[in-house]
């Protein structure tokens, strides 16, 4: 049995809500542990917080701009009445007491690791990775595997559209694209029922310190985030990242009630919600976070940027494409081809959207790639 390091289990106790229990590893489990980094597992976890004005506790997000009925600008406040992470069956947060959940498991923990950047297109750099449990490989022995299995089984179609104008006889469109999702592979989840929490938040909306005019709730049922990761490294004096956010939930529901939290009618629900979103591709397309310094008009603005992929191949200036007339040009052109075929992408599928009791079928976003994305905040008044 070759184990470099035993996994350190961090049991984090939140007030009296946590009942953690260390469970011994048997040999069969231990042999699959190739120790590296720190694994985190929270057993029997339950978090339930909210405002309890009677006891002097309030959870308020204030300082928001707002208005009522096209009136004058007012300060809007969100009075968080409940935020919870609980076991399944919480029924939108109404039944959280005693419903604990395991966050990760010993074979599939949340991880903090130092990795070799060469493996991710980040040459000669150590990469700090924070990651959720890796996905199962359903084709083998249901043990954690490297690589990224996808929840989505895709179907494809050949492009038949003309690249030119109507009536053009030139057929210059090539290749194939995703035409839809034909199957969903639930076996990739390590987070089985006991490891898929219900997560939700409810808050009242009020203006200028008045009583809430309405209550909104967002509830995710049976959530898994397997395969998600955040990688951090430094380059040219700046922090760079790439990350993947996977969210799978049996149901995502938005509920609206009156200011007292009562009179809740039909809601908006997204049944069978699944999202696999990758941002950044090593140093080819790093993701950066920045706050504009100084005292200028934009100072303090927060910027999230997925770097532009422009400028990394020699351009044929008659058409804007990558040149391919030399071996060096072909090599850089091939980097783009690989990026478009295998680079970071966003896939999302909702089995059914239900608004106010009416079904509106499935929603699909397939193979969405940001060649460039810059998001800068500004003040709303």
């Amino acid at each position: 049995m070759k184990i470099n390091i035993a996994i350190i289990l961090l049991s984090i106790f939140f007030v009296t809500k946590i009942q953690a229990d260390l469970v011994s590893l048997d040999d069969a489990a231990l042999k699959n542990v190739d120790g590296a980094g720190i694994g985190i597992v929270l057993e029997d976890f339950l978090y339930n917080a909210g405002s309890d004005v009677g006891e002097g506790g309030e959870f308020i997000i204030g300082g928001l701009a707002g208005s009522q009925y096209d009136g004058a600008n007012q300060e809007a406040k969100l009075n968080v009445t409940q935020f919870y992470i609980a076991g399944s069956g919480s029924e939108n947060g109404s039944k959280v007491e005693g419903r604990t959940v395991n966050i990760g498991r010993l074979l599939f923990p949340f991880n903090i690791e130092l990795l070799n950047g060469d493996d991710f297109g980040i040459d000669d750099k150590a990469v700090l990775e924070l990651s959720a449990p890796v996905k199962n490989d359903a084709t083998a022995d249901n043990l954690p595997k490297a690589g990224s299995q996808s929840y989505f089984g895709i179907s494809t179609e050949s492009r038949t559209e003309r690249g030119g104008l109507v009536g053009s006889t030139t057929q210059n469109t090539i290749g194939s694209r995703v035409s839809g999702f034909r199957s969903l592979d639930t076996t990739i989840f390590n987070s089985r029922a006991a490891e898929r929490p219900d997560i939700g938040i409810s808050f009242g909306v009020s203006f200028d310190n008045e009583i809430p005019v309405e209550n909104l709730g967002l509830h995710l049922e049976s959530v898994a985030v397997d395969g998600s990761y955040l990688r951090l490294w430094g380059d040219s004096g700046a922090l760079r990242t790439e990350f993947s956010l996977n969210v799978y939930a049996d149901n995502v529901e938005v509920v609206a009630c009156d200011g007292t939290g009562g009179n809740c009618g039909d809601s908006v629900t997204f049944d069978g919600f699944s999202l696999e979103a990758e941002f950044g591709a090593g140093n080819f397309q790093p993701v950066t976070f920045e706050v504009i310094p100084g005292t200028g008009a934009n100072s303090g603005n927060f910027i999230f940027e997925v770097a532009s992929i422009a400028g990394q191949c020699s351009i044929n200036t008659s058409r804007g494409s990558c040149r391919d007339n030399t071996a060096a040009n072909i090599a850089t052109r091939n980097k783009y081809i690989d990026y478009y075929e295998n680079g970071p992408a966003i896939n999302a599928y909702i089995e059914n959207v239900n608004v106010g009791g009416s079904d509106f079928g499935s929603t699909t976003i397939s193979n969405l790639q940001f060649q460039y994305l810059k998001v800068e905040t500004h003040n709303l008044q």
């Binding site: 130092l114 005292t295 460039y372 994305l373």
Partner: protein, 355 residues
Amino acid sequence: MLNTFSKILLLFLLPVQVSFALLVPIDEAELSSVTGQSIIKIDTQGSNGGALDGSGRVEYTKITLGLDIETSLNADLLELGKYDRSGDNSGTGADLRISDFALGKIDNNGNIIPFKIKDPFIELAYQNDASGKKTVAGVRFGFGEASGALSGNFESLTGDVNVDILDYGAGLSNADGALAQFASFLLGSNPISAKASLVDSSGNANQVRATQVGIPNGDQFNFYASGGNSFTLNLATIVPGLDCVSSGFLVCYHARAIANNCEALGIDVCFDLSSYQTLDVGTDSTPANGLFLSFQTKPINWYDKDSGGAFQATPTVSGAFFNVPNGGLTVDLTQALTGTRRVRTKYVDPYFNGY
């Protein structure tokens, strides 16, 4: 060699040695320069203080994010509202289906020209019943402002796409038909305007799973006199189907041709949506206001403020709904009659033969 665990321990230990910093109070002068950003805005509208909906019982809560977004993106497929509607074959239709969807473009020098978005928002509409119960009647995702190239194969579209056709009479030379050619000859320098929207194959306005865009039945091509060409415009009214509606002695200032059954002046005025491979939404100087995507359980109005600050309603139908606002898209006659060519959206682009 340090193994990974040791490196991590060092990582955690090193900062400890430099972390014995005292907390120092910030004085008033420093504090006065600290301001938080309000990047979230919450607005409510509806029955409680001035009904916007005819029923008087629809309320709206809109959450706006103070963001300036620039992007260039490509997607294989964007499909919303795939369910069976009455009249469609089972399992075949979607309210919105766009393949090879893209925002932004790449110019001939390889520069990315991004699609720009300002202040995106999410809005809920509630239907309140007599007892005060709130039922969500709709949700929409929209942009305060948007501009840039929007590309894709529009296979099915439910919504409102308003296209302004602005050109000169000479543009009619691109149309088939002797009448159009004759009109083009006479009206070469006369400004033309028309509005196109989603229609069915007979020219009837159709907002549900449309596959064609055109000038709806009863709408008109407008021909205007500019400079000294009011005489030629008057002369052109000898063309069957072209009527003068504002005239003087031997002159005409405004003539029109009424569209009927997808024809006007003998030319086709309805076209496959897929012919329009790239649409220019707004401009840098005049971004489009009111671009949104929504779901609603019934036909309800969504409201946006115009440039004068007045609320303008956008009526919708039940299901998924994609709205391109008035003034959001402008094409010339050549583009209207022959389509718009897809711009480059990738550095190795399948629509440019893989180059």
